[in-house]
């Protein structure tokens, strides 16, 4: 559904990366790994049509992304940004309701159907009890859950998440990754970036390794996340092993 062809991307006047070829299939969880500053966020912003491509193209269902109105695009693709602090004290329910923007006419306010969709999204993510709390006062993990609920209220086919587990504690990282898996199980494709290769084993159907703006390797996690590849990517020795009690592979740095 979302494809990038020979895509070069960057800011105005500054090329960050290039040569990106991707095709995200419906319902798959696609994980992007790479060191800090390698261009993951810039690539995401280009995929979302927030930055124009430097070269190549980004297409949604075969149509260039620029041909969609923001609302048309938002009905298909949702974005979960890194949670910042909001300026005004909106409630969690207000924030989730904002996910309905692309389905509400410009001059209208949310109707009963929109409120119901927001409530359903909150319930699905399991944070209905937070609805009346201020978004600015809930914990970092709850804030991330709120933004995922907002993306769900958008009823998209694909959710793009920029480092959804960044600056979360251990338990909340696990909860977010569980939600990513649940989205995929519900048939909603997810593209996410993360700093923890182990998370790719836990949730992703495909993984891409990115280095200095280029995708150096792409494939199934078991085939792509090899110790040598991770060493080349991060510059540290890495152990990848099957962990029987967890029922999946894990990935940890080997410390001398």
């Amino acid at each position: 559904m979302l494809t990038a062809v020979d895509l070069a991307f960057g800011y105005r006047g500054v090329r960050v990366g290039g040569g990106v070829n991707l095709a995200i299939a419906p319902g798959e969880v696609f994980c992007l790994l790479g060191p800090n500053g390698c261009g993951k966020t810039t690539l995401f912003r280009t995929l979302l049509g927030l930055l124009p491509p430097h070269a190549g193209r980004v297409e949604l269902d075969g149509k260039p992304v620029a041909a969609f109105s923001r609302a048309e695009f938002a009905r298909r693709i949702a974005y979960v940004p890194q949670a910042g602090a909001p300026t005004f004290p909106f409630s969690v329910a207000d924030v989730v309701l904002m996910g309905r923007a692309s389905r509400i006419a410009t001059f209208a306010a949310p109707g009963p159907a929109d409120h119901a969709a927001a409530r359903a999204a909150l319930a699905t993510i399991g944070i209905a009890h937070l609805a009346e709390r201020r978004f600015s006062e809930v914990s970092g993990g709850e804030r991330q859950m709120t933004l995922i609920a907002r993306a769900l209220a958008q009823e998209p086919g694909l959710v793009v998440m920029d480092e959804p587990t960044a600056s979360l504690d251990f338990g909340n990282q696990a909860r977010v990754i569980a939600q990513v898996r649940a989205l995929g199980a519900r048939g909603i494709a997810v593209v996410l970036s993360t700093h923890d290769p182990g998370q790719a084993f836990a949730c992703a159907s495909r993984v891409a390794l990115m280095r200095r703006g280029e995708i150096v390797s792409l494939g199934r996690p078991t085939a792509t996340l090899k110790p040598e590849a991770l060493r080349a990517l991060y510059g540290v020795d890495v152990t990848v092993a099957w962990l029987e009690p967890a029922g999946r592979r894990v990935c940890i740095p080997t410390l001398e």
Binding site: R70, A71, E72, T87, P89, D94, M98, T106, A108, A109
Partner: protein, 337 residues
């Protein structure tokens, strides 16, 4: 009725009604509240009221236009303040800080200097205000990478100083016996000489400015988010932002063109409104309008009753607004967080 709706409607409405009535009752020539209501009812019904002719004249010809002007100007400044605070994602900006008021006063003072009709003064005030906010916003964009709030405020201060110099230039050039007193008094802010014609002349601009705010009452919430976040949610941010900035500037310019510079309302009132109604703009806007109108009518009533001579409005609003602002800076961070 829910507690939230009570706070958002009943409290401001009750305050507003009380302020309006008191303002029509008190003054050099006292008229009882009953008489005030009878006079208004009679005038609206087209009959003669059973009250002294002087009382009817004072209420209908003198106080009512002034109260109406206070209501409109206060509501306009508070409404535009609420919009600017949302658009610039900063509860400390206001038409004053963004240079809109300064730009509008350059336009209006030039209009007075050229002895132009009121509509032309409004037009010039609008152009000046829009120009100022455009420059401030452009500086904010160009200085990307620094604290955006700080950049906006500093740009507003610099542009405000520059525009203040322009105003001073016009004052130097103005006729010292005729235009200069008018300009000076106008810069201090006053509703003392407001006529019914003045009030009616700004109604179209105020309605025109309010229409997009009412229509975009819910979208406005999305514009308080990070720009890319709002676009990813499906909002055409650039277009909506321009429309709302123009609307808020129009409101400020219309207000400034009849009242002169009345500072601080656009900063202070949206804060109080937010603490009553919450951040949802659909609820915030009517509360800000009611409180702004009521606040200015109250301050204007003080201005004409406090001393034997009329105290200029701008002096009173600054005397109340500036300490409030400082208190916000120091103590009340949670008021908007």
């Amino acid at each position: 009725m829910s507690r939230a709706a009570f706070r958002a409607w009943v409290i401001p409405l009750a305050l507003l009604a009380a302020v309006l009535l008191v303002s029509l009752v008190v003054g050099r020539y006292p008229v009882g509240p009953g008489d005030v209501l009878r006079i208004i009812a009679a005038k609206l019904g087209g009959e003669a009221a059973d009250v002294p002719e002087t009382a009817a004249t004072v209420v209908w010809q003198v106080r009512l236009p002034r109260v109406a002007a206070g209501l409109l100007v206060g509501a306009a400044l508070a409404g535009s303040g609420a919009v600017f605070q949302g658009l610039f994602r900063n509860p400390l900006v206001s038409p004053d800080i963004l240079g809109v008021s300064a730009g509008a006063s350059v336009g209006a003072v030039t209009g007075i200097f050229l002895s132009l009709p009121v509509v032309a003064i409004q037009g010039l005030a609008f152009a000046g205000g829009l120009g100022a906010v455009a420059i401030v916003a452009a500086v904010g964009t160009a200085a990307r990478g620094r604290d955006p709030v700080l950049v906006l405020v500093l740009a507003g201060v610099a542009i405000g100083a520059l525009l203040g110099a322009c105003v001073s230039l016009v004052k130097v050039l103005a006729d010292p016996y005729d235009q200069l007193p008018a300009i000076t008094f106008w810069l201090l802010g006053s509703l003392a000489s407001t006529t019914r014609g003045d009030v009616l002349s700004i109604v179209p601009a105020i309605v025109l400015g309010l229409v997009p705010m009412v229509l975009l009452r819910w979208r406005m919430n999305l514009l308080t988010l990070d720009d890319e976040e709002a676009r990813a949610l499906g909002v055409e941010t650039t277009r909506l932002r321009l429309v709302l900035i123009a609307a808020a500037t129009l409101l400020t310019a219309a207000a400034v063109s009849i009242s002169g510079i009345v500072g601080w309302i656009g900063l202070l009132v949206p804060h109080v409104a937010r603490s009553l109604a919450g951040p949802d703009f659909a609820r915030l806007l009517p509360v800000a309008l009611m409180l702004g109108g009521g606040y200015l009518v109250a301050v204007d009533t003080l201005a004409r009753c406090l001393a034997a001579t009329e105290v200029p409005l701008g002096i009173l609003t600054a005397a109340i607004g500036a300490p409030f602002f400082l208190w916000l800076l120091i103590a009340a961070r949670q008021a908007w967080r």
